[in-house]
């Protein structure tokens, strides 16, 4: 999982990543740590500055030991021109191309890229826009200007008190717990591979449901322009006009981040109950905010480019919609895993049953509920496909 911290000057972005860098990975690799700290600048050349060095005897460049660092910090990412920022794609993907080979970065499948950046809203001189594809590789973006993440009054008072005692920036203690982090990462990755019925259902709801368009079937390239004047968005508040479906990379990041949140909650308190649906939607809120999923016009007009605030409002609505269909979706998925196809329901005093299993003479007595269609703002037609898929898988077993 790769992270970026964005925000105004003095919000503590660099301090935060430096604390993680020192307190968990013991700082620089050159000083027995596990990290590489890169300060971005207009002429940056990651390949030559960080990953290779000149072998004078052989008169050619050779790899440095920096390829197996566990944390790569790129400070002030958007102080490098957008083209130069492309060099960080490799770190985001965990791969560096070297003499026609792909070299895996990090160790045991683990490496962490943390970048800090100004928001690129034009208020800072000397900064550049960040490429969307790079944003997509920075799975979690925390906006330290946003209420949820910025220091509280108490935090600020403590910082001020500390500064009055020692005006220098306080560095975190040097410590290396990278072995524990790698082990935890493996456990989280395993959990993310098979997150269970509820988490998988939320993931599908987000991936397929958000792609639904009542006007054009799929959102495609006409979204969100086509939302203006759409008969299904007459009041300009249709949830389908707010957000589109994430790409596969974001989906994977979302599931993994939810698994990480679950892991952390259990680490703090093994008896802590967690709710997969809540974890998944919170994870989507955190991983989706800067993935260009939100309607840019609404983002600017209604939310003054505050992505976290907009996505939090959208996720709340999505969760409400999911919760109102949760019983249907999860029952269908559970039943499909047991080899039973249940896609129509009836309600008998608050209990749901399978309408298709009613004898013919009773079918008219109980209203048929058919929740899985795309004639709604967030599509549910995908559940039919999902059930068919699970039934096929079940046959295979």
């Amino acid at each position: 999982m790769q992270h970026s911290m964005v925000g105004d000057r003095g919000t503590g972005k660099t301090q935060l990543v430096r604390d993680i860098y020192n307190f968990y990975f013991r700082g620089n690799k050159a000083e027995e740590g596990e990290g590489i700290f890169i300060r971005a600048h207009p002429e940056i050349d990651v390949y030559n500055e960080i990953f290779t060095e000149l072998d004078i005897e052989r008169a050619k460049r050779k790899l440095t030991g920096n390829i197996d660092a566990l944390i790569y910090v790129v400070d002030e990412l958007n102080r490098a021109p957008t083209v130069a920022q492309n060099q960080f794609f490799g770190i985001g993907d965990g791969i560096m191309d070297y003499q026609g080979r792909s070299i895996l970065l990090g160790r045991e499948g683990y490496r962490l890229l943390m970048a800090t950046a100004n928001l690129g809203n034009g208020t800072f001189q000397g900064t550049f826009e960040t490429d969307e594809a790079l944003h997509n590789r920075l799975h979690v973006t925390l906006d330290l200007d946003y209420e949820m993440f910025k220091p509280t009054i108490e935090d600020k008072l403590r910082i001020r008190h500390r500064q009055s005692v020692n005006p220098n920036v306080k560095e975190a203690k040097m410590r290396d717990i990278s072995d524990k982090i790698i082990a935890a990462s493996k456990e989280i990755s395993e959990k993310a591979l098979d997150p269970g019925i509820e988490a998988s259902a939320v993931a599908s709801y987000i991936e397929f449901g958000l792609d639904n368009c009542m006007k054009n079937q799929r959102k495609g390239r006409v979204w969100p322009l086509d939302c203006q004047g759409c008969p299904h968005n007459a009041d300009a508040n249709a949830i389908c006009s707010y957000i589109r479906s994430p790409v596969e990379r974001t989906m994977q990041a979302m599931i993994k981040y939810a698994a990480a949140l679950d892991f952390l909650a259990k680490l703090k308190n093994p008896d802590q109950d967690t709710d997969a649906v809540e974890l998944m939607f919170k994870s989507f809120e955190l991983t989706g905010a800067y993935q260009s999923l939100l309607n840019p016009m609404l983002l600017r007009q209604d939310y003054i480019d505050q992505n976290p605030k907009f996505i939090a409002a959208v996720v709340e609505k999505l969760k409400e919609d999911f919760r109102s269909n949760e019983d249907f979706i999860l029952s269908s998925v559970e039943q499909a895993k047991n080899g039973n196809r249940v896609v129509t329901f009836f309600d008998n005093n608050g209990v749901l049953g399978d309408h298709d299993r009613l004898p013919t003479n009773l079918r008219s007595k109980y209203s048929k509920i058919e929740p899985y269609n795309d004639n709604r703002q967030i599509g549910l037609g995908w559940v039919n496909n999902y059930v068919n898929f699970l039934m096929e898988m079940n046959k295979g077993k």
Binding site: E326, Q335, F346
Partner: protein, 271 residues
């Protein structure tokens, strides 16, 4: 899926009951049967008949029918209504009778159908041929709501242990001190349909269906609805206005004034 890899603590209480369709159907069946029975004359209680040669003296010849290819006679009418499955066994045993197993009853059902179509002739316990119109009457009550249809216990109990399914049948009353208990023959469940669906009238040796109907609607004489075995449940057979069901999912504790049994008795020689 192992619990280790599940995200969150799954403790969701679903509003969905996979068995609800069966429950509401059963409630409907009970209600309909009760209504029909109100209109139907109470079944005749069999007075003793000393004339039988190969059946017990208290078996009234014309009321019982010989089940072809067996040494068993089965009552045309249900009796012992209002008892649970176990108490029905005890009540039958007290009178020297027993409950039919699916392996006896399901072939008998087909034989009654064939007799109603004139393909075979059934015989009463006193060896008189059952007229075709009577066979038709009997068939209709076993396959539709005719004269109240039927709702009867069958002698089969299902159990599962480590994915091995067993059937126990031929239950006999065993006295242990002051208490009675039931003991039967237990064997592994043979291949049979393991889903709730309409099934063709093809049964294995244990009397359970072996072929799912292509057309999942009721066709009298061609298929019946089947509720597949559930752990700890017993078998029963129902016929009402819209279909006939073989249920292997009945609770032992069920009882109703409409739920009885087609009592059976052993003959001394094969008919």
């Amino acid at each position: 899926m192992s619990n280790v890899t599940i995200l969150g603590n799954p403790k969701r209480r679903s509003r969905f009951d996979p068995d609800l369709a069966r429950k509401v159907t059963e409630e409907y069946e009970i209600e309909e049967r009760k209504n029909l029975l109100k209109k139907k004359k109470a079944p005749e209680i069999n007075p003793p008949s000393p004339q039988q040669s190969d059946v017990r003296a208290d078996i009234k010849g014309e009321v019982y029918i010989r089940v072809p290819n067996s040494k068993v006679v089965i009552s045309r009418n249900e009796s012992y209504q209002g008892l649970t499955w176990e108490n029905t066994h005890y009540a039958l045993a007290d009178n020297g009778l027993f409950m039919p197993t699916p392996s006896l009853f399901m072939p008998y059902l087909i034989q009654v159908r064939d007799a109603s179509q004139g393909k075979i002739t059934l015989y009463t316990a006193d060896n008189k041929p059952v007229p075709r119109d009577e066979a038709e009457d009997l068939w209709k009550s076993l396959s539709s709501g005719h004269k109240g249809g039927c709702w009867t216990w069958l002698d089969a109990k299902f159990s599962e242990n480590k994915n091995v399914w067993k059937i126990t049948y031929n239950h006999k009353t065993v006295q242990k001190g002051k208490d009675n208990s039931l003991e039967g023959i237990t064997e592994t469940l043979e291949d049979c349909i393991r889903e709730d669906c309409f099934v063709d009238l093809e049964f294995n040796k244990q009397g359970l269906p072996t072929r799912r109907s292509q057309d999942q609607t009721y066709t009298q004489g061609e298929n019946i609805y089947y509720w597949h075995p559930i752990e700890g449940r017993v078998a029963g057979f129902v016929a009402y206005s819209s279909r006939a069901n073989l249920g292997c999912d009945r609770l032992l504790s069920d009882s109703s004034s409409a739920l009885g049994v087609f009592a059976c008795a052993e003959c001394t020689s094969k008919s």
